[in-house]
């Protein structure tokens, strides 16, 4: 192979994969600032409901795609190696703790409503924060697209729904850059969306006077 062809081949592979392989974002150590303050003990559960995770098509640590120079996709995964919902649960628990609550994580074996209700009942907490992740992934090439579908429910210990709020959409949240930059933008978007879910009069009212 001539040097010229070798160089062309190297350029091709760099364009095709570049910095696209093995990207990881940290959703576990995000300092989420919530627009609420309160006291008391909360049960917290984050439910994995992304169809491609539940079906086993993707691993639970899948959080999106990074595309190479020709649009070829590579999976982006959690920096912790844990399932995305575990990382989100840690971030949200820390945020609620900073807002004054004592947080106990609920053990949710599946996304089935009966399993969620059983976990809430078993926990016995007066208020339970259930975050259902129907979709959360970034798709990065020249821009960062976020696809999200989140539902927040506040449930009492009898399983009665006290408040709910949801967010769903597709948004360009920034320009695609290096892994650290993309991770920071994705983390900021997560903070915004979680804060937005809690910034509802019904949700705030359900979390006072526990």
């Amino acid at each position: 192979m001539s040097v010229f062809r070798f160089v062309c081949l190297m350029i091709f592979f760099t364009l095709a994969t570049g910095c696209a392989v093995g990207n990881k974002y940290d959703y576990q150590q995000i300092d989420i600032a919530l627009p609420i303050e309160g006291t008391g003990v909360l049960g917290l559960g984050v439910v994995e409901s992304r169809d491609y995770i539940v079906s086993g098509d993707k691993e639970p640590d899948f959080i999106g795609l990074q595309r190479g120079g020709f649009g070829n996709p590579f999976d982006v995964t959690t920096d912790s190696g844990k399932p995305l919902v575990d990382d989100m649960s840690t971030s949200v628990a820390n945020a609620l703790a900073r807002s004054g609550f004592t947080v106990e994580k609920l053990n949710l074996p599946s996304r089935e409503a009966s399993d969620v209700a059983a976990a809430v009942k078993a926990g016995g907490y007066a208020r339970n924060v259930i975050l259902t992740v129907n979709e959360w992934k970034t798709d990065v090439m020249m821009r960062i697209k976020l696809v999200f579908d989140l539902e927040l429910q506040i449930i009492d210990q009898q399983g009665k729904l006290l408040a709910t709020n949801s967010l769903k959409g597709e948004e360009v949240i920034g320009g695609g850059g290096l892994e650290s930059s993309n991770a920071q933008i994705a983390a900021s978007a997560f903070e915004s969306k979680i804060g937005r879910l809690f910034n509802s009069p019904e949700v705030k009212a359900a979390l006072v006077d526990i």
Partner: protein, 142 residues
């Protein structure tokens, strides 16, 4: 493809893919009334040695707000909102700002009320002043 064209093809492809991409976005809490925010404190990002906090405060003042800036993470006086930012720079013959993210936060809870982002690669580069201007205008006209 003829071998003689290959040296032209690859630089063209690289420029096409990476050279002139832009995006300008804003995300504002629908329940927020940004027009009610009159006073701002812009916090210097510790990694920023170029003084972007001053540019942001200046632009807010031009927009009719009252803005101050500083290195302390807490405002020196009561304000309606605190402004944070993240700037990213690249080198392509000269240094240029490739991305600017601005967040407007509640001073009491630190909750993100609104955020905006401008992304401009090398061929679409603008001055920091222009990028600050377009991000803030995008946020406040969202």
């Amino acid at each position: 493809m003829q071998r003689s064209l290959l040296p032209l093809f690859f630089p063209w492809l690289v420029a096409l893919i990476t050279g002139c991409a832009t995006s300008l976005t804003a995300d504002v809490d629908p329940s927020a009334d940004l027009s009610s925010l009159k006073t701002f404190y812009v916090v210097n990002q510790p990694n920023d040695r170029r003084g972007l906090e001053v540019l942001i405060a200046d632009e807010l003042n031009v927009m009719g707000k009252k803005a101050i800036s500083g290195k302390s993470s807490t405002p020196p006086e009561a304000v309606d909102a605190v402004v944070n930012y993240v700037d990213r720079w690249m080198w392509d013959i000269t240094n240029y700002m490739i991305q600017l993210t601005v967040e407007i936060r509640d001073p009491k809870t630190n909750y993100i009320i609104a955020s905006g982002n401008s992304y401009r690669t090398s061929l679409a580069r603008e001055s920091p002043e222009a990028m600050v201007d377009e991000v803030l205008n995008k946020i406040f006209t969202q």
